[in-house]
Symmetry: D2
Subunit: 392 residues, 4 copies
């Protein structure tokens, strides 16, 4: 039974189409909704709407749900549409009349917003940890000389450490962006009702803010709705930055582990084979990491495109943001984790690197030496350039 | 066990990351792979590689797989990576030595390509049928007058029939695009091996082409690989055209069913409610249809972005095309179907339409009448314009 | 003065913001609008609205505009907003009263739609020619052996001709898509007015259809508006397919011309240098071709995203489609042309190719030989696989 | 003459294709490059490479360039490719030998990176100011009651002030994102050479960092190249957030100014007309603002897509980032400015708002009153719901 049940039957096909996979996808939000529901119940108690006994029954019920969920035993029925309904239905079924009171002075919009926000904060914190770990795993001190490329042509000398260090520096900036977006979204939407505030009841939003560990109240109720999609788009933007860092590293490693370069080598147990070519050992893990950047871009675009041209106030379109958000969080988390293992177990082939340190990499250095001896740079450049023009 | 099993253990986490949801997603391809495997087996028999008994055993095995699959009893293990391996493993397990022969003169790339191609042709044919049905359901003959809008302002008179007919016309063109992309992809990739042809064996690609009902052989083996992603991108482009047609209709219907317009009305059983506002009857089905256009754009973009900047020959990145393709096919199919029901059960409120046929809608007509009487158009325009400039 | 001038002053900043670069961008449409305006005038004459003298004056005026335009002397003022207004203003200024009659029984929407449609047909025809030329320039007969790559690892033998031929095959399919989209858009929108038909006057749309060489009338006036953006999105989808073909070729050539491969060589005069590294000769032309695929994707996405969630009937948003359309047409045309020159002047280094034809490329062949002698494929695969597992 | 001139002629068509519009687009960067070049020259003087007289000549030359540029008299020739070359060429032409020394110990990559970075910081600061101004212009204190909508259906009461205040709150968060991205990019790339540092010379990057007002040195030279595109993508992500805020406001205003609502009214001089319908006054400015969000998404996507799958080190592809970046900065700046004027001059029609405050908006309030009197919420909801189910 849906929270909005009106006594008439909704068309089955319409139900299936509108609910989509929400009744499965939403499972991820259950512990967050329960935490927020508990905070809401405590607030209702503090302002005198629930008595102590009612509060305890509700908290017990919410605890039971989390325990069932942890064992995989709390399922959402398609008719319930989403986790928010399933939670209320459980409370009514198990706790009776008091279960009908939990939804006092809040809306399902409240529930989605606050549960998503809690999920997002936790997801970003976990991705932050994985990024730290990744950064520490990079061999940024390795001084093995390596050719640096520009335009995919040998350009100037670099080292394995400078190369790897560039990813550590990228992650430093990615972390700044993670912190920035967390600072933006760290505001409590609970108490905004359906996006226009709660009439009649004098709710106390500071209580739930404190209980849930938010930095501040998201004051304007219409802004809570405006921020739906907007915040998720910004989060996806940060995650796609992280995925870009991984894409670049994967692209480098795929090329530099080719037989034609051989600068690095993946451990055998990281490689997969071909069904027809017996000799193949393929860097599939890197190819998937590379490709996942674009998959994440697709999710980012879907969210940013679908939220355009919609008037203020909740529109059901925004429901479709959850799937790309969840998918991107998971992909980013897993990609950073697997790339950490890749860089940790990567071996550098010092010999192959040394062989590749050919003379032309030092052309700039040679020109600079002439400059030091007094030749203007542009003239030194031409002089050294001529030396290489024949051989190419 | 993977088709490329080499005797060393692959890292568990790497396996999970690279296989992703393929071992679930791929289920959709099983009947298509079995059809193609049967055609391949028949060809191997025709060119003398399999004897009659071996052929029959393989065909029986493939039949068993399809039967199991139809009952939901053919599952792919994560270790098997994909449906192609699961099928070969089943044949070996049940039919012994002959099972090891099915993969003679073909590659897993062959299998994916041909199974996908067969799936795509069938999916497009089914979507075509749904579009026809949708088109017939449109009340394109309804002559109820209706205000036409430009810039979201009342502009000139139109009718319900002209409005609805515009979607029928759009679908006519969408069908042309469906037919065009089917004509492009209707070429048999089976026999291209890993993308460089089949050495040693003299396979006969005409046999499998005929068996599988393709229009022609996709001759150049490297082009079969180049076309992976390329064809899917083109298909997604056509499906996003269809979804755009649906987006436009949904957008119109959402607005025209607002209380402020009231031109049309959705049946009650198509509407859902609010958890907090007892009076609400919301057109969620239309909002989801509208939003799904953008979800499809995200999929299209993911595919088009990920296939860029990759050298010729198979790259594992292309595996990630399957999910957005399957999702888009399903979404498009379901959206056209649900929109067909919507237009079929839609009621037009003739009274509300009539009320909205206000005077300014006829301003152009008035100006034209002056022109007929001899006033140059630009002067008539200014004259009529003045009449409305006060009242607005 | 704008066509819709009402006697009040429009805010300067608003004008600048809404017109944007249209008054420059639109220059491209002038000859097409003049052609369509001439057809419209002839039709007005045929149905008795213009007399012979008026028709001749208008045709003369339109001719003058095209002549001025060809010399770069027909400019659009920002106040005029677009080319359509500029053309009418010229006719009024030079031909007097009759100039005010050209806009009888048509709308600016008519003008934009028909001019764009004519432009698009011509642009697609020209790109078609460039693709034909490109295809003929490919050395698809060159039998030089070349390593084929999968997962960016040496896989199986191929030839320069098979590689190059794969692009010829891709272009064949691109041409099918070009033809398909031309067939779709080849319908005359002129006569649809502002999207709701022309009242009072009995215009004859067959006349303009014949005059302008369209295959058929786009009958439903509301569909002409619905097709705005929709057709352009479909065209951009086809052009991005072509650009993908070019992206793939450019990506291959950049890698295969690296010192580490050396299979092909660009002529020196196609390469650019570095401001600091005297030795560099960079394949910038290929990098720009590669990157332009993504630029085109951005344009495609912009169009597809902006046209969503808008109700039927013209919305000014659609004006912003022109810039990405024109830019993509130009980029595609130029990219195909420059890539034609690249493949024409490319030299294959047969020696470097031969050196790269290492033993492991023949592993599949070796396994197949065992199969021919009676070993089941999966066993032969493992046997040959072991031979290579040490050497890696 | 290009900085990398090698004495051979580059193909004309290749030059045109690779340079594209850079020689025009780059004009925007000239003052920033001159500032950075002056800082570089001062550093070269400090470390003893330039003497006092040489420094003064170079500074004078750079000043002259800025003065010429301000008058529109400093043009870049297509052969010069970009502004960086044009600046060096000027210095050599006007100041002789010393001009050839300015490029000592730096690369064109250095120049692009630092000039872009300076431009970006300034552009973001200016957009920040416009956002502040916009925020102050919002009538966030207006207590006129207004219907709040969810699912585009009347839902609950709100006020003009709460509605407008939601945009002020959105801008507060947009400003946090602007500040965050400025904090990330505020690092000096000058001194990273071609992406691998400067050999031979002992340059002092702290000097240029101080001179140019950067917060810190971007230490790792390879990271300066990795950050190219990455930073621009992040900036575009922030700008698309701002454009989303504007898109939402524009979408609201377009609907609420429709005759069917009439809640707000744009001043007449902000509206444009139709060429055929004399009565029309269209909100084009809002439609263009709405559409520009999607144009910006297209630019964002182009950048994010093109920078994927490229190995470390400069690739010419990245040149194509400049155009979407410049276009987006300009569009965002202008859109915020024009929307500021719109909200400043908007009039609220209190009467129309009051008329729309119909009974069903208070259904939640009615249900809550029952709850206060003791009815559990879910029962109260059903009771009130029945009251409205007939009338709808």
């Amino acid at each position: 039974m849906a929270l909005w049940d009106k006594g008439y039957e909704i068309d089955r096909e319409v139900l299936e189409y509108t609910v989509g996979k929400d009744y499965i996808v939403d499972s991820k939000l259950i512990p967050y909704d329960c935490r927020a529901s508990a905070a809401h119940a405590r607030m209702l108690h503090d302002i005198g709407i629930l008595n102590q006994d009612e509060l305890e029954q509700l908290l017990a019920g919410l605890n039971e749900i989390v325990e069932l969920w942890e064992k995989g035993d709390f399922l959402i029925e398609q008719e319930e549409e989403d986790c928010h309904t399933a939670i209320e239905n459980y409370l009514v079924a198990k706790k009776g009349e008091v279960g009908k009171k939990i939804h006092t002075a809040r809306s399902r919009n409240d529930q989605v917003l606050v549960a998503l926000r809690l999920f997002e904060k936790e997801a970003l914190a976990q991705i932050r940890d994985r990024l730290d770990e990744f950064s520490r795993a990079l061999p940024a001190e390795d001084e093995t000389p390596l050719p640096g490329y520009t335009h995919m042509q040998r350009a100037m000398p670099t080292t394995v450490g400078m190369w790897m260090g560039s990813f550590a520096a990228a992650v430093d900036d990615d972390l700044m962006l993670v912190d920035a977006i967390v600072a933006v979204i760290d505001q409590n939407p609970l108490g905004s009702g359906a996006g226009f505030g709660i009439p009649v009841f004098e709710i106390d939003r500071d209580i739930t803010t404190r209980e849930l560990g938010f930095k501040r109240v998201q004051e304007n109720p219409m802004y809570t709705q405006l921020s739906r999609g907007k915040f998720e788009a910004a989060i996806l933007g940060v995650l796609s930055q992280i995925m870009f860092t991984m894409n670049k590293l994967a692209t480098d490693l795929i090329m530099f582990s080719m037989k034609e370069f051989g600068f690095v080598k993946l451990p055998e147990r990281f490689c997969t084979g071909s069904s027809i070519m017996p000799q193949k050992k393929n860097p599939d893990v890197l190819e998937i990491a590379r490709a996942n950047y674009h998959v994440v871009l697709g999710h980012e675009l879907a969210v940013k495109s679908l939220m355009g041209n919609l008037i203020s106030g909740y529109n059901r379109d925004l429901q479709l943001i959850k799937e790309p958000l969840f998918a991107t969080v998971e992909t980013t988390y897993q990609t950073v984790r697997i790339m950490t293992r890749v860089v940790r177990d990567l071996s550098v082939d010092r010999e192959k690197c040394a062989e590749a340190m050919t003379e032309e990499l030092h052309a700039t250095e040679e020109a600079y030496k002439l400059v030091k001896e007094g030749t203007p740079f542009r003239d030194a450049y031409r002089k050294i350039g001529e030396r290489f023009s024949g051989g190419e």
